[in-house]
Structures are given as structure tokens and as C-alpha cells.
């Protein structure tokens, strides 16, 4: 009896040590931050924020982009609060301009300053959108026929706007940029991309 309980205690201790070892980060976070700061010595003062993940990105990176429920709920709540809606309450812009924005990957790279054109959304880099464009990526899901599949519902128009403005409000730790929240695209530009997805006339739905 005694022998067995000693073994059980020993296993219990080993388990605790393993759990502790798992909790402790392999690399000191301060070391990571310092290495990143030193690796980009030409970064101007107003670029320093790019080097440091915000709370949401920290949580996503720490959990391999699939955080436990409590954290994922906190992320959704935090990111939902960043969404600014169009003042006129209209979500559908010009789908033809949306198509142009979907094609363009211009903006925010260190060779893009001073800006020579407006920022793009680069949707085609990751998504299929129209039959006409065969050069599309597959990191994100295909959005071909998106509006039609959603039966052009008003609620889904708003949901599409929210996903583009801040993807994490709907899908915590999504790989898609927070186009609105991070000021990559303007509200008007996001409306144009919403129209590309949700307008019956758009080539996405033809």
C-alpha cells in the first residue's frame, strides 16, 4: 500500500513540474522585445508601435491563434468595441471601386512612403472573389458568390462590414488584417468592398 502511494505522489509531483515547465515561457519576453527593437534600427519613431504586439495579438500568438473560450470571448468584446459604423448608416458603396481595392496590395510597406496612391485591401492575395480573376490566393476561404449565398440579407451586409473593419470581432485570432481598426482602409473604402461582396450587380455574384 505504502509503496503504491509513494509512486502516486511521485507521479503527481512529476506532473506538476511538467505543468510548471509548460507555463514558463521558453524565451524571456523581454529578450524577444529587445531583439525585435534591435533588429529594425532604421524604424522611425512613429513606426515603433509596429514592433510591439497589442493585447489581442499577444493573446493570439500565445495560443497559436486558437485561444480558449474565455480569452476568445474577451478578444471579441474588445475588438467589437473598435468598430466605427458609417455615419449615414449605409453599408453598400461602389462595388467597382471595391474590385480595384481587392486587386491592390499597395500601402504601409517601407517603400510606400510618401504614399503615391491609396491603400489597397489586397483581397485577391488570399481569397477567390470573381470568375474573371484566376490569380487568387487560398489562405482565406473562397468568396465567390458571397452575396448570393447570403441571399443579399441586410443583416449579412452589416456582418460583412464588421468582418472587414475588424475580423477579430467575428473570428478571434483570424489571420485577416483589421482593415478599419488599424486604419489600413477608410470607412468609404470598406463600404466599397462590402458592395463588391454583397451587391447583386457585383461580379462576385454574377
Amino acid at each position: 500500500m505504502r509503496k503504491t502511494s509513494i509512486i502516486i505522489v511521485a507521479i503527481g509531483l512529476a506532473g506538476t513540474t511538467a505543468a510548471l515547465a509548460q507555463q514558463k515561457p521558453v524565451v524571456d519576453p523581454a529578450r524577444v522585445d529587445a531583439a525585435v527593437k534591435a533588429a529594425f534600427p532604421t524604424a522611425p519613431a512613429d513606426w515603433q508601435a509596429r514592433l510591439v504586439p497589442d493585447e489581442t495579438m499577444k493573446q493570439c500568438s500565445a495560443h497559436g491563434n486558437s485561444p480558449p473560450k474565455a480569452i476568445s470571448g474577451a478578444i471579441q468584446k474588445r475588438e467589437m468595441a473598435t468598430i466605427q459604423y458609417p455615419a449615414d448608416g449605409k453599408f453598400l458603396g461602389d462595388w467597382k471601386n471595391g474590385e480595384k481595392l481587392a486587386q491592390s496590395g499597395y500601402g504601409l510597406r517601407f517603400t510606400d512612403y510618401p504614399p503615391r496612391q491609396v491603400n489597397g485591401g489586397n483581397c485577391y492575395a488570399c481569397h477567390q472573389l470573381t470568375k474573371q480573376e484566376v490569380s487568387y490566393g487560398t489562405v482565406g476561404p473562397s468568396l465567390l458568390g458571397y452575396g448570393k449565398l447570403h441571399e443579399f440579407k441586410q443583416a449579412d451586409v452589416k456582418a460583412a462590414y464588421e468582418k472587414i473593419y475588424n475580423s477579430h470581432a467575428t473570428f478571434p485570432c483570424s489571420f485577416m488584417p483589421r482593415f478599419g481598426a488599424n486604419k489600413v482602409l477608410t470607412i468609404e473604402q470598406i463600404k466599397d468592398i462590402v458592395a463588391l461582396l454583397m451587391s447583386p450587380e457585383s461580379s462576385v455574384n454574377k
Binding site: A35, A39, P53, S135, S142
Partner: protein, 274 residues
């Protein structure tokens, strides 16, 4: 009830639609594969080999303020020994008290042995489109080529080597910048692509072993050899991050992580890329 035929028609259309899209995907992929095969058919057609030769000449020529060659440069296997050195890099070097990859080590030797100014060398270390790879990159191509056919065998024994690999893994997964990107965002799934460019699943040893050993590689689209340090800078550029410094701990750690993940994969540098 009247809606039903419409619904069925719509469903049929949707099915037809997706199979067309699927056929189109397969067709595009076939075209891409044919292009890759044509590039690979004649290994001597790889212009990167010219840069490897240029690198060898540079390595052996007395240069710099001290007018010495790099034949006394220790790449980890003893002064002057180039054969097989690349396969074990990055590694810890006592003289520098740092873990270094091939390019960082060549940079160090250029500074310490030949007397070049480090700041000058890291200022614009990579070629623009259409320009040939710079001297340091040509020598890195030569050094990598001298391990061609060997397998990646990083030692990963010294505490600092282990730390570099661990740091590289953290950096690979670290999301930041206005696009929230990390390396993992594009390289943590099988069979995905950006536009038509396939993305290797670099966190997966099976895929890392296939592609990591192709760098430095000749890039057809930019008509020059691109080194791994340059490749990483380009990734960070797309991630909307600032300019990654050649020889920084971040670049070395990422290379340490990639080479460790690719352990056992065959080196075939310079490779040939789109």
C-alpha cells in the same frame, strides 16, 4: 412551392460553378508545375551558379583595408574550411560570443579579418530588382553551394544555439504591425498560396526539409540571387514591418529555427525560384 425549381436550379448552378472553379485551379496548378519543371530540367541553366563562382573568387581574393582573403575565415569547421560548413549553421562562435548564420559570419569575417566597416556593409546589403547579388551574398551563395548535396545537421548543443532556435520559433509566431501578420500567418498550413504563389508550411519539418535548402536561390522574377537574409527582409516588408537588419539576432534566430526544422533535408543551393 413555386420557388422549388428555382432553388434546385440554383443548387445545380452552384455545384457546376464550384467544379468549374476546381478545374480552373487544377489547370493553373498544372501550368505552374510545368514552369517549375522546365526551370529544373537543366541544372546548369541556373544563373545563380555564376554568382557562386563570383563568390568563390571574392572569398579567395585579398580585399579590404587589411588586404587579406577570407581563406582564414572560420565558418565553424576550422579556419578556411568551407566544405560542409553551411550544413551546420547557424552555430555558436566563441570569438564573437554569438550564434551566426552564413551571412552574419561572412559579415563578421569581412569586418574582423579584412577591416571592412560593418555599418557600410549592412546599410544596403541586398540588390534591387535586376541588380546582381552583392559581394557578401555572392560569397554566401558560394559557401552554401559548398554544402550542396549534404543534409542540414545543426548541432543545437550550445545553450546559445538552443536559445536561438527557441527565439526563432517565438518570432515565427509573433504577430505585430498594422496587418497583424506573423510568419505563421502564411506558413502554418499545407497547400495554401498567395495569389498563385504556393506557400511552404515551414513549421512542418516535412515541408521545411523540401524548401529551406534551396536558399540562397536565383529568382527568375527579379533576375538575381536572393539570400535567406534578403528573403526574410522581404517577408517583413510584406508584413509592413521596418527594414530587417542583416546579421540581427532576429534574422539569425529565424534562420536557426528554419534550419533546425529542416534538419535532415538536403541542401541544393543555389535553388531556382519563380
Amino acid at each position: 412551392m413555386e420557388l422549388r425549381p428555382t432553388l434546385i436550379a440554383a443548387a445545380c448552378a452552384a455545384i457546376a460553378f464550384s467544379s468549374i472553379a476546381f478545374a480552373q485551379d487544377a489547370e493553373t496548378e498544372k501550368g505552374l508545375e510545368k514552369y517549375r519543371q522546365m526551370l529544373k530540367q537543366d541544372p546548369w541553366s541556373n544563373p545563380g551558379l555564376l554568382d557562386s563562382d563570383r563568390g568563390e573568387a571574392l572569398w579567395k581574393t585579398p580585399r579590404g583595408p587589411k588586404n587579406v582573403s577570407l581563406e582564414q575565415c572560420d565558418l565553424g569547421k576550422g579556419a578556411g574550411k568551407v566544405e560542409g560548413a553551411f550544413a551546420e549553421l547557424p552555430r555558436y562562435f566563441v570569438d564573437a560570443d554569438k550564434v551566426m548564420d552564413a551571412e552574419t559570419r561572412i559579415l563578421w569575417c569581412m569586418e574582423k579579418l579584412q577591416g571592412f566597416n560593418r555599418a557600410d556593409l549592412v546599410k544596403k546589403p541586398h540588390p534591387g530588382g535586376g541588380q546582381p547579388v552583392k559581394e557578401l551574398g555572392a560569397m554566401a551563395t558560394y559557401v552554401a553551394n559548398k554544402s550542396s548535396g549534404l543534409k542540414f545537421a545543426p548541432k543545437a548543443q550550445h545553450a546559445k544555439e538552443k536559445e536561438a532556435i527557441a527565439l526563432g520559433k517565438v518570432l515565427f509566431n509573433r504577430r505585430s504591425g498594422p496587418f497583424d501578420f506573423s510568419c505563421a500567418g502564411c506558413h502554418s498550413a499545407e497547400g495554401t498560396r498567395i495569389r498563385l504563389q504556393g506557400l511552404p508550411y515551414l513549421a512542418n519539418p516535412k515541408e521545411a526539409r523540401k524548401v529551406v535548402g534551396e536558399w540562397p536561390a536565383y529568382r527568375v522574377s527579379t533576375t538575381h540571387v536572393m539570400t535567406m537574409q534578403h528573403r526574410l527582409l522581404d517577408c517583413y516588408w510584406q508584413m509592413r514591418m521596418p527594414e530587417l537588419e542583416l546579421g540581427s539576432d532576429v534574422s539569425v534566430a529565424l534562420i536557426a529555427y528554419l534550419n533546425k526544422t529542416a534538419e535532415g533535408g538536403t541542401i541544393s543551393a543555389p535553388g531556382l525560384k519563380r
